[in-house]
Amino acid sequence: MTTIQAILILLCLGGGIFASVIFKSRLGYRLLILFFFVTAIAFVLFPDATNVIARHLGVTRGADLLLYLMVFAVIHGFFLLYLRSRKLERKTTEVIRALAIRDAEHLQSTN
C-alpha cells in the first residue's frame, strides 16, 4: 500500500464516521454511506477496477466515471441541503409568527 492510499483510506474512514454521526436517526442513509465508503476504499486499493467498470458503462476512463459520479453526488447534496434549509426556514417562520401574534400590542387611540 502506498502512502497516498493510506491517507485516502483514512480520509474515507473519517468521512464515513462523520456522515454516519450526522445521519444518526436514518438507517437508509447510513447504509448508503456505508456502501459509498466501502466502494471508495475498494477503488483506492484497486484503482484499475474503475477503468473496467467505466468501459462497461461506455465511459473511456475510470477517472472520468468518478468525476461524473462526483458531479451527481454534489448536485444531490445541494438539493438535500436546500430542502433542509427550506424546512428549517418554515419552522423558523412559524416560531417568529407565533411570537409576533402572542406579543401583539393593542395601541391606544390618540384621537
Binding site: 417568529i96 409576533a100 401574534i101 384621537n111
Partner: protein, 231 residues
C-alpha cells in the same frame, strides 16, 4: 358588517418615513388595522404614536422574514380576532384608503370571496404606471399565468380583500414577494370565487424607489421555480 370587522393588514419593513401617515389616513374609516413590522432594524412601533384609531394592532417579527410572511402573520392574527374581511394594504402609501370600500363591496354583496385590485382595468389608472414598471408588471402577469394557469390583468398588486372563509383556506408559505403568485395558486386550488376590481395606485418618488427592481423580479422567478420543484 361593521367597518371594525374589516381588518386592514399592513406589512411593513423600514417604512418609517411613511408608515405613520399611511396608518393615520386609515384611522377615520374605523377599520381594524394590523401593522406587521417585519423585523425592521428600528422597531416601527415608535412611528405609530400619531393619529390612530382604537382598533390598531402592532405585531413585530423578531427577525426579517419577507413581505409574504408578514402578510400571512397579519392575516392569521386578524382571523384570530374575528375578522370578516381581510384587506392587504401596502405601507408605503401607494394604496388609497377610500378604495378599500370599493374592494370590499363585492365581498359584502357575496359576488366573490377574493377581490384583487388591478391597475390595468381603467385606462386612467394604467396611464399612471411608469412605462418600465408597466412592462415588468405585464411580465409578472405572464409568469403568474405560467405558474398558476390564471390570467389576470395585474398580479403583483398587493391591494386585495379576502373574505374570512377564503382566508381560512389560503395559507401562504412563500415568505418573499413570490407570495403574490402563490396566493393565486392557492385561490385556484381552493376554488373560491375571485374577481379583479379597478384600483388606482399613487406613485411617489419614495414608493418607486422602494418598488421591485428587475433583478429582484428575477429572484422572485427563481423562488417560484424552486417552489414548483420542491414544495
Amino acid at each position: 358588517m361593521l367597518n371594525s370587522d374589516i381588518f386592514v393588514v399592513i406589512p411593513s419593513y423600514n417604512e418609517r418615513n411613511v408608515l405613520g401617515t399611511t396608518v393615520a389616513e386609515l384611522a377615520p374609516f374605523g377599520y381594524s388595522i394590523v401593522v406587521v413590522d417585519d423585523g425592521s432594524p428600528n422597531p416601527e412601533r415608535q412611528y405609530l404614536s400619531g393619529q390612530i384609531n382604537g382598533s390598531t394592532w402592532y405585531l413585530r417579527h423578531v427577525s426579517n422574514l419577507g413581505a409574504g410572511a408578514a402578510v400571512e402573520t397579519g392575516t392569521k392574527f386578524a382571523l384570530s380576532k374575528g375578522a370578516k374581511v381581510i384587506v392587504h394594504f401596502d405601507a408605503d402609501g401607494q394604496h388609497i384608503p377610500e378604495l378599500i370600500e370599493k374592494l370590499v363591496d363585492p365581498i359584502r354583496r357575496g359576488t366573490c370571496e377574493v377581490a384583487m385590485g388591478s391597475r390595468f382595468i381603467e385606462s386612467s389608472d394604467r396611464a399612471l404606471i411608469p412605462a418600465g414598471k408597466r412592462i415588468l408588471l405585464k411580465l409578472g402577469v405572464f409568469v403568474s399565468w405560467v405558474f398558476t394557469g390564471m390570467w389576470l390583468t395585474d398580479t403583483h398588486n398587493g391591494f386585495r380583500a379576502i373574505s374570512r372563509t377564503a382566508a381560512q383556506q389560503i395559507h401562504l408559505t412563500e415568505n418573499g414577494y413570490a407570495h403574490c403568485t402563490e396566493i393565486l395558486e392557492l385561490i385556484r386550488k381552493s376554488g373560491v370565487r375571485y374577481m379583479e376590481v379597478p384600483t388606482t395606485v399613487r406613485y411617489t418618488t419614495y414608493s418607486l424607489a422602494k418598488g421591485q427592481s428587475m433583478w429582484n423580479s428575477i429572484n422572485i422567478l427563481f423562488d417560484l421555480v424552486l417552489r414548483k420543484l420542491f414544495r
